[in-house]
């Protein structure tokens, strides 16, 4: 597999390590009332789609950047590549100060992630 790095151009996948589903970028708030369930889903449950899948890859033997790669799990074709930092900045909720606010932002992030997950596009700008 060749991954088209936004800065470095086409690189062989063996230079990278993969972490998994890009939803791992949306870490739930530990202060939320439903933190138990939210962390269970975050840590253990996966959509595991047959088709387009957004996933986190780390350019370990390169510039050590984190990428969000949209890949077809049926064909291994790489459809889109974006810097994870760009995606995270675009989709990151404001830091939560109170419990109430934290809950609200968690819902918001959850919505954003399902939205971008369904459309299957990298760099989905939620939140």
């Amino acid at each position: 597999m060749i991954i088209n790095h936004p800065h470095l151009g086409p690189r062989d996948a063996s230079e990278f390590t993969i972490l998994g589903d890009a939803s791992l970028i949306n870490r739930p708030s530990w202060q939320a009332e439903n933190a138990d369930d939210a962390f269970y889903s975050y840590l253990y449950l996966r959509d595991n789609p047959a088709g387009l899948h957004r996933e986190l890859w780390f350019h370990e033997q390169g510039d050590r950047s984190w990428l969000i790669v949209t890949r077809d799990t049926l064909t291994h074709a790489v459809i889109n590549v974006a810097l994870a930092s760009d995606v995270a900045k675009a989709g990151k909720p404001a830091p939560a100060a109170t419990k109430k606010l934290a809950k609200k932002t968690t819902e918001k992030t959850a919505k954003a992630s399902t939205k971008s997950g369904k459309s299957g596009k990298a760099g989905g700008k939620g939140g």
Binding site: M1, A13, S14, T17, I18, L19, G20, D21, Y40, S41, L43, Y44, L45, R46, D47, N48, P49, A50, H53, E55, R71, T73, L74, T75, H76
Partner: protein, 416 residues
Amino acid sequence: MRYSLWSLINQALTGNRDWKPVWRDPEPKPHYDIIIVGGGGHGLATAYYLASRYGMKNIAVLEKGWIGSGNIGRNTTIVRSNYLLDGNEPFYEQSLKLWEGLEQDLNYNVMMSQRGIINLYHSDAQRDAYVRRGNAMRLHGADAELLNQDQLRALCPFLDFKNARFPIRGGLLQKRAGTARHDAVAWGYARGADQRGVDIIQNCDVTDFLIKDGLCTGVETSRGTIRADKIGVAVAGSTSRVMAKAGLRLPIESHVLQAFVSEGLKPVIPGVITFGAGHFYISQSDKGGLVFGGDIDGYNSYAQRGNLPVFEDVCEGGMAIMPMIGRARLLRNWGGIMDMSMDGSPIIDKTPIDQLYLNAGWCYGGFKATPASGLCFAHLLANDEPHMVATKFRLDRFQRGAMIDERGAGAQPNLH
């Protein structure tokens, strides 16, 4: 027809005219007591044990393609019970005991060959870990024997004992482990189930589950609606895809594992040998081909084929322990899709939906588990409670923090 030496001679002398199809090809009925989704090894074994041990009748196995077309036909055929943890070892030992009597039970030659497995160790620390594992196995009634370098040399003189980086110091031997003929296992279970009245329905794709108020009452298929009192799903590799139709998200990722076969050689490798410093395992088939494999590719995949970096990694592992295979030519390679669970251990449990049961998450160790998986799933379907050797394979164990993490890798499926 019961297979025996007499039936073989009889057929041979009469021109092999009377061999019959080994299972029927029935039309699906509108209702069954129990439906098993998935006609692979585990699904067929479940149906067989439901009919033979639990006295259940009116059972159907629904298979999207042809039976045995999934991972039961795409593995490296290794059978063993050398696990460490309490949740696992009794289950795999139960499985090995079933393997030992399987041919007599099924009246079918599955070519079970107990040629032994040796896990190599390369350091003092690893030797200690294997002593512990061996003791854990023996405590659960399995056999295990620690070999020092001289004992190992007598069994496998061809190993690279003086490898500069990973010198081989000895191994953990399980003599009762071995290999079996993978396709024959599927066919044997299918024949046994069919003889006991199970309908094996091929080319029958389950497109949806009939679920109302948290109760599953049947399935929609490409061959019509089929209702049932209980539905068991055993479709490892595609579990997430199938269970998504029931609205469930699972602690599973699908990954591709590759396997390799060399050209046929004279007998050189006496049993199954695994590398202790990397991931590599090898055995020799009855036809003479070296059958070997290593790590999964590491990324989510449903493609049933992998990439070249794993080729290289696997071959390096092989060369590190037995350089003699370096001149053997590779004949075939293929990939299969694994249900990689979040702790590397399987799931045999009820689901949050009533009357819907799940058998999944076999990672890349499903073949050896086939008999016990079938038995335990049948027990669960028949009695609504887990079999005594499968009480820890619960779906909610991740939420409760009761993982069975043999490798200690955490919630990172591609590292198990």
